[in-house]
């Protein structure tokens, strides 16, 4: 095999989820002894295409070639046999077991596991690939960076020639990133091929020989690893804005801020700080867009504002009512309407549309000690009509399409006339018609004077709807731009953590 022959080649890979095209005829190849980065925003299809290569998902169309030979990859087992390894964002290690046992699990074919042998094998592969791990340490006692080393070692010990790393730096501190890159450079020098999935420009430039940029399931292009950041940012997010439907003649945001946040901090799911010292305000009749690659604190911000997560510091005020640390009930009572990112989990799928529509204020529907069924059904019929929900009142919410589920949430929240709306990813996964409907509803609320905080990964959406835009990176607000004439390149740099360089 010559140096320029692809070790792994993907040809015209297409993958659809329902109406959504996650990968649209993607071509990609990685050569021997090369780091080839896959760069793109969330939802661009980077992970999906590599999950296909590793057999975690099957493509609808397309071909996978390893060393020039077509390969059928039905499961990770097939991929591993062909020399492909992948370290996913969620590690597949057995936490209570030792490093040696985890490595042995990945390889053993016999019935018996000899503890001494597993330890010696682990030490041997650790030595051979120059990746330091303690074979007798329990995985649960290791730092995330060390666990990642075990994952990489697990892949290498199965004789992997092509290593796919899915956002490997997302969980690492800077020093660990440096160590990872040093390791990767040595491995690549020995002939390993690495696919490096990331959305961080600086890291992609630091480690990659070539960079392929994906956007909305399409490959935009492949460029040299030394391409400058502005160019990469433009490829990643830059596209002409289309269909700006925000009426420019509409009432301009006016008056005092209704939602005011000062110095807000909160921890993420693993108890690590996810939100640091965020301050912002939203006026009545204003849509404040929150841009940023996901995982930079937006989820925690919305959770805190929804009453689902307690902040560790800071203040949240709606008009003059202090709400930091309030539970969902108090948030709603203060006039905060919430359209969350995970719409499935925020409704009760097995309960009817009618019940879900009134669940936030059940006490308004009681007669004596019992539920006012007739009142609930009348309410449901009214909201189904007004919000064009394609369902009957008795249908369980779980049987509805994504668009109709979102309409149920919208109806539940908007029908109560909130003064503040906290909206996250309102059109993700929706078809064109539902998307348009949801956006028009938000704009109607803006017109009525509601203060709207809109979190979205869809830049087009943010640009189309927002009066102002803030960008979040690593839990902080790193910049603010006017919505109407945002500079895409500047925005892309801010999102990729290169605010100061711009």
């Amino acid at each position: 095999m010559t140096a320029h022959e692809p070790a792994l080649e993907l040809r015209l890979i297409t993958k659809r989820f329902g109406d959504l095209v996650a990968n649209d005829a993607i071509n990609f190849d990685v050569r021997r002894g090369e780091v080839h980065a896959l760069l793109g925003e969330n939802g661009a299809g980077k992970t999906t295409v590599m999950r296909i290569a590793y057999g975690l998902t099957q493509a609808d169309e397309g071909q996978i070639l390893v060393g020039g030979r077509a390969l059928v990859v039905r499961s990770p087992r097939d991929a591993i046999a062909a020399g492909i390894g992948m370290v996913t964002q969620h590690f597949s290690l057995v936490a209570p077991m030792t490093v040696a046992e985890n490595l042995a699990l990945g390889r053993s074919t016999g019935l018996r596991l000899k503890p001494g042998e597993a330890g010696r094998d682990a030490a041997a592969v650790s030595e051979r690939f120059g990746i330091r791990v303690d074979p007798s340490a329990r995985v649960e006692d290791l730092s995330v960076g060390q666990q990642q080393r075990v994952e990489i070692l697990k892949a290498l010990s199965r004789n992997c020639q092509i290593l796919i790393l899915d956002e490997p730096t997302a969980v690492l501190v800077p020093a660990e990133v440096d160590a990872l890159f040093a390791t990767l450079r040595e491995l690549v020098a020995d002939g390993l091929s690495v696919v490096f999935i990331s959305h961080k420009l600086a890291e992609v430039r630091a480690i990659s020989d070539r960079v392929s940029v994906l956007r909305r399931g399409e490959r935009i292009g492949t460029v040299d690893g030394g391409t400058d950041e502005r160019e990469l940012a433009r490829m990643m997010v830059g596209r002409p804005t289309f269909g700006v439907d925000r009426p420019t003649d509409a009432a301009q945001p006016s008056g005092a801020p209704i939602l005011r946040i000062r110095g807000l901090s909160a921890d993420g799911p693993h108890g690590l700080p996810a939100l640091s010292d965020v301050s912002l305000h939203v006026r009545g009749g204003e849509i404040l867009g929150v841009a940023g690659v996901s995982g930079n604190g937006q989820t925690e911000l919305v959770d805190v504002l929804s009453g689902m997560r307690r902040p560790t510091a800071g203040s949240i005020a709606v008009t003059d009512v202090e709400l930091a640390g309030a539970d969902p009930g108090r948030m709603m009572g203060a006039g905060v309407g919430r359209i969350p990112e995970d719409r499935h989990a925020s409704l009760i799928g097995d309960l009817s549309v009618a019940y879900n529509l009134v669940l936030e204020h059940l006490d308004d529907f009681r007669r004596g000690g019992r539920i006012d069924e007739r009142g609930i059904r009348a309410r449901a019929a009214d909201l189904i009509e007004r919000f064009d929900i394609r369902a009957r009142p008795d249908d369980p919410v779980a049987t509805l399409s994504g668009g109709n589920i979102q309409k149920v949430l919208l109806a539940r929240v908007l029908s109560r006339g909130p003064r503040v709306l906290v909206v996250s990813q309102p059109t993700r996964g929706l078809d064109v018609g539902a998307t348009e409907y949801v956006r028009s509803q938000l704009l109607a609320r803006r017109h009525d004077g509601t203060a709207i905080l809109l979190v979205s990964e869809d830049l087009d959406e943010l640009l189309a709807l927002s009066d102002r835009l803030i960008v979040m990176y690593e839990g902080r607000v790193v910049g603010e731009v006017a919505g109407a004439d945002a500079d895409l390149e500047h925005l892309g740099m801010l999102m990729a953590g290169r605010g100061r360089a711009a």
């Binding site: 959504l20 199965r158 059940l362």
Partner: protein
Amino acid sequence: MRISPWSTPVLVLAAVLITFVITAGPILVAGANPIEAYTAFVITPLTSQFTLLEVLVSATPILFTGAAVAIAFRAGYWNIGAEGQLLLGAIAAAGIGTLVGGLPGIVALPIMVAGGAVAGAAWAFVPALLRVRFGIDEVVTTLLLNPVALLLVNGLLHGPWRDPVTGFPESPRIAASAEFPALIERSRLHLGFLVGLVVILAAWYVLSRTPAGLRLRAAGLSPHGARFAGINVSRTLLGAALVSGAIAGIAGVSEVAGIQNRLTGGLSPGYGYTGIVVATLGTLTMPGVAIAAIFLGDLSIGASSAARSLGIPSQLGAVVQGVLLLTTVALLAMRRQRSGRTGEADKGGSVTGDVAAEGQPG
């Protein structure tokens, strides 16, 4: 209207038929004709007044424990401790029952029932508190409190409550006015059965007709979604656990006041655990619990009479019950998996989502 092959009644009926096919093996081994055996198990007990009443007598305690377990499970609180809660209710009944001799039954009985309910709820309170405060798994804590309750019973019976006259490990007989009267002259069917039906009816009403019941169901179906909608899920779980414990406690009162008239070590042959079976077979609905309790009562009376008439071990009744539980759970799980698969098309939004578990090859 077309009936779905996966609707609950069809499913449970299928489970019964599959169970009969599977248990035909052991019955043949025991030397009996399966058809004859099933007739003896299920049909024969319903054909005479005496056995029919006995069926209801043996359904009485599991009517309570079934309802208790079903309520907790509906809230997503896995109370495996109905057995211990029942024993605490029995202790309370045996204690109160000896003290209320001077009172008329109309006063004494409600006091005793209330006392048993409070005792059962108190026994359920500690694990429930540990769950909502510290997230400690209630399956483990409620289960482990069961043998503790039994030790408490035996400690009392071998200590302060030992019958002073006979020296047997049995508590003194409760006052006559504290005994549950028979519902039908010269039968063992007692007031407890009626109380059980009232409890089932009340639980059904609360679950399906009141805001509290809707909150409880919402919390059980999706704790996250319920919390998001402003429901205090911790308080709901705590409430469900206490009500569940109280109902299980009344089961103990019913056995003491209706059957034994005193506390004995063999008061409950595992009625709390059978309650889990009843609740599962009844698919956690109150009408289902009532039917399942009576069906299991039928089976247990049938099995002991079949032991005499057909000469087969009476444990075959327990075998049928166990296999029925497994087939029902299996069919319910298959239904859940089916609906999970059809619902999947909608969730295409998370294209970048990772699977938590990579297929572990090798």
